[in-house]
Amino acid sequence: MHRTGELYGQFETLEQQREASSLGMWVFLITEVMFFGGVFLTYTINRAIYPAAFGIGSNTLDLRLGGFNTAVLIASSFTMAMAVWASQTGKKKLIPLFLTLTLVLGSVFLGVKVVEYAQKFEHHLVPGRSFQIDAHIENQAQKQELEAAFAKDPDLNAHAQLYFSLYFGMTGLHALHMLIGAGLLLWLIRESLRGRFTPQYNTPVEVVGLYWHFVDIVWIYLFPLLYLIDRHK
């Protein structure tokens, strides 16, 4: 269908187009809810069966990096919401500014994840043949904890590997979605620099915003589920 101005030919009015685009993105997001839902279910069942192994796995994660990343992502949601506000109120110069801030914060998040993944690799915590939960021991307390856990569960290594399979699977899937979001932001920044978004037409900004907030929500759940198990021990 051809396009006249910003109105695609299959729609009768810009309002109908905006309604359809927004509903389309929301419907897509609930497909993502079900998509992540399957792996959240897998996590739930496995954590219920192997609570000790999950606690030990979780304690190897760097809480400062995880907490920092959570703050960074929430901030990026804030800047994204501001970008939508700028597009709604006609503040054309602010749109690319807020979008760029969002992109920068998202990139910081991904950079920190790379650091975390590298650390896991060094400590033999990547699932596979070289996985070993007790390869890297930081202090005596951790050593005792591990020994006690192994005594109760001789297969601790395999069960801890389940935790890390889920850690990499879930954060990896999340990071993939952030990369896609980053790509969408780059496109939006380019279009906003061309002055394309006005209060009459800002649908792409709104719709990418919905996507970005969803990715933030996934992390809001991932953070406590992966980083905050058995921290009181």
Partner: protein
């Protein structure tokens, strides 16, 4: 234009609340509340997610249809989790 424009002041308020509760959830993780740890952690996460959905994603100001879509998504996730758990939580181990 039927869009409702949320003010930056509200956004800033939501942002602050989200940061505060991130701190709360980390703090709560260090206190041994036994089985309540997971409940509180998920409760706080759900509270934060709700704020993002209502205000950052404008669900509070969206048409009824959008709100129904959101509820349907959450409900269907609940079906997946609840009915599967209905198997795992009622399994009886036969010692013999």
């Amino acid at each position: 234009m039927s869009e409702h424009i949320v003010s930056p002041k509200i956004y800033a308020g939501i942002f602050t609340t989200l940061m505060v509760f991130t701190g709360v959830t980390v703090y709560a993780a260090y206190v041994n509340l036994h089985k309540w740890n997971i409940v509180i952690a998920l409760g706080i996460a759900t509270f934060k997610a709700t704020l993002v959905i209502l205000y950052f994603m404008h669900a509070r100001y969206s048409p009824r249809r959008t709100q129904l879509v959101i509820i349907a998504g959450v409900f269907w996730l609940a079906i997946l989790l609840a009915l599967t758990l209905s198997d795992y939580l009622t399994r009886v181990t036969i010692h013999g």
